[in-house]
Amino acid sequence: MQPPVVESNDRGQARSDDRPIAGAGIGLRHCHLEQVLRERPSVPWLELLADNHLAAGGLDHAGLEAISVRYPLTLHCVGMNLAGCDPLDRTYLHQIRALRERTGATWVSDHLCFTAHNRRHYHELLPFPYTEEALRHVSERVLAVQDLLQAPLVVENVSAYLRFSDSSLSEAEFLAALTRATDCELLLDLNNLYVNHVNHGDDVDAYLAALPLARVREVHLAGHAVKPGYLLDAHNDRVSPPVWALFRRLVQALPELPVLIEWDNDIPALPVLLAEAERARTERAAAVAARTSAAGVAADGLTQTAESVSPC
């Protein structure tokens, strides 16, 4: 069956860039593209894995036009190699810029990591030491990317399985300094934060206190895999209870922040993803209601804000 293309009643409609990114969206994966075009599920926004949509033609290329008419979009990248020491791949960045212009994506994000070295690509989000040298290096590259994109870059915290002994900054301190140096924005992945809490004993409270929350543009939620002695950021399951608890806490501070469900391995049927997004919506609503209620009580001097204890 051929996927629908832009239908006549879509033409002339406002494109995604005219509509805001708000509420609970899902990461659109290739296997769901045709179903989303066909069924037009009610989801407020979609995030595209930009690296999967760099083809110059074909069905996906055509399908994106229809998707961009129907949904507000953002682009999520894995190939900028922001902390890498190879020259920035300007061809890739021009492709991302063209994809953004073609889809009207509201913003572009990538990860605080390196992905290639000496022209060998590892297709992994690799860690590096958080030092002043690295901060200068990453800042220069983020500025160059933003100059090419002519837009703020949204930078995401990553899960890590190892840390370097010569790091002089925490990840949150590094990200905070990066926003000051480049005016970039942040994508806060709460699953990554929780994975690092388990894998490295990171203090969640200290992390959130060090992060400039006003610069956070988007939240990611995803599932992880429990391995012997560590958590793997596998994006292969539903969001775990501790990560939902973190989300409820964050909503207390940032009630309007757009949130996205990511699922990349063992991808389930589309309704499962949509149900996770719906849960994010209801979790947010409940947390906001609890905050309002607690604030009312606090005004009477009887209690403090809701859920002030660490979820982890």
Partner: protein
């Protein structure tokens, strides 16, 4: 023995080089280990050692590339079996680094890898058709993502040139088209496995000449005659000779090429139809080639 504080801290580039090397080769991880932080006791007991943590990245990085090969070469995997394919994929990953961030481009040399392995492994030597089958799967994969190339419309073409100008016409093959010749009946082998049709004896015949192209967004495999295959190959070559007018050509194309020709070609032009005719190519199938959507542009060469 120097303590870590007495050693010079490696630069960012050097740290990355060491981690990359440790992913490529487990033995290289020892050069990274002194710079890794000790595991912090957390809620999880018996957390992995520093070197085991490097292995998490190694496994994940290799698995991403292995999954890509599995997705691109499903029929090869079906024929070889998952374990044998995994072994061949692992060898390929060792031999061929990924040179682009776009994983869709990884795996281009898998057919050559299979041929090289066959040359020294008897167990695979009986599957002589395997490298060509891999080439077919690679073309099928790449054609899905190839740039759009709207087919040249025969009616529009008729508006572009007068019949007596036909010999000066240059045609451009679609960018969403690949050709593949094999001594084996690989199209039948490929189809039977994709359709799960079970094992059957397939006559070798004269082998296959195939066009892999995209129609309405979907890759298709079409067997063609040797004459058509040869003509398509000629159309793909850059022009070397001056145009030569051939009156028989005008007759052949009389129903297709009309009064005027425009220039809808890009910079990569094939030979003129006159050159093709002078070189002895049979142009009779050309209208069918155009009707199949395999031509995406044309231009009129300057008079010789």
């Amino acid at each position: 023995m120097l303590s870590q504080s007495q050693r010079q801290r490696p630069s960012l580039a050097e740290t990355q080089r060491r981690l990359a090397a440790a992913i490529d080769d487990p033995a290289a991880a020892e050069h990274l280990a002194p710079w890794l932080a000790a595991s912090v006791p957390g809620p999880q007991q018996a957390s992995p050692s520093a070197l085991e943590r490097v292995a998490i990245y190694r496994d994940s990085s290799r698995r991403a590339r292995e999954r890509t090969l599995e997705a691109i070469y499903p029929v090869c995997r079906q024929i070889l079996g998952p374990r044998c394919f995994a072994r061949l994929a692992a060898d390929y990953i060792d031999a061929f680094a990924s040179r682009q961030g776009n994983l869709n481009r990884y795996g281009a040399a898998f057919a050559y890898h299979l041929a090289a392995v066959q040359s020294h492994q008897h167990a695979l030597a009986t599957l002589g058709y395997l490298p060509d089958l891999a080439r077919l799967e690679w073309h099928w994969h790449t054609i899905y993502y190839a740039p759009d190339a709207p087919p040249l419309d025969a009616a529009a073409l008729a508006q572009l040139a007068r019949p007596e100008q036909a010999a000066r016409v240059r045609l451009r093959l679609s960018t969403a088209l690949r050709r593949l010749a094999s001594a084996y009946p690989i199209a039948a082998i490929w189809r039977r496995h994709r359709e799960g049709a079970g094992i059957a004896r397939i006559a070798a015949g004269d082998g296959d000449r195939l066009v892999i192209h995209r129609r309405d967004g979907r890759p298709q495999v079409t067997p063609v005659t040797p004459a058509v295959f040869k003509l398509l190959a000629a159309l793909a070559r850059p022009s070397a000779q001056a145009p030569t007018l051939d009156s028989t050509l005008v007759t052949t194309l009389g129903s297709t090429l009309g009064p005027r020709l425009g220039s809808t070609l890009g910079p990569t032009l094939g030979p003129t139809l006159g050159e093709l005719a002078a070189a002895g190519h049979d142009l009779t199938p050309l209208p069918d080639v155009i009707a199949a959507g395999w031509i995406s542009g044309c231009a009129l060469a300057e008079p010789g």
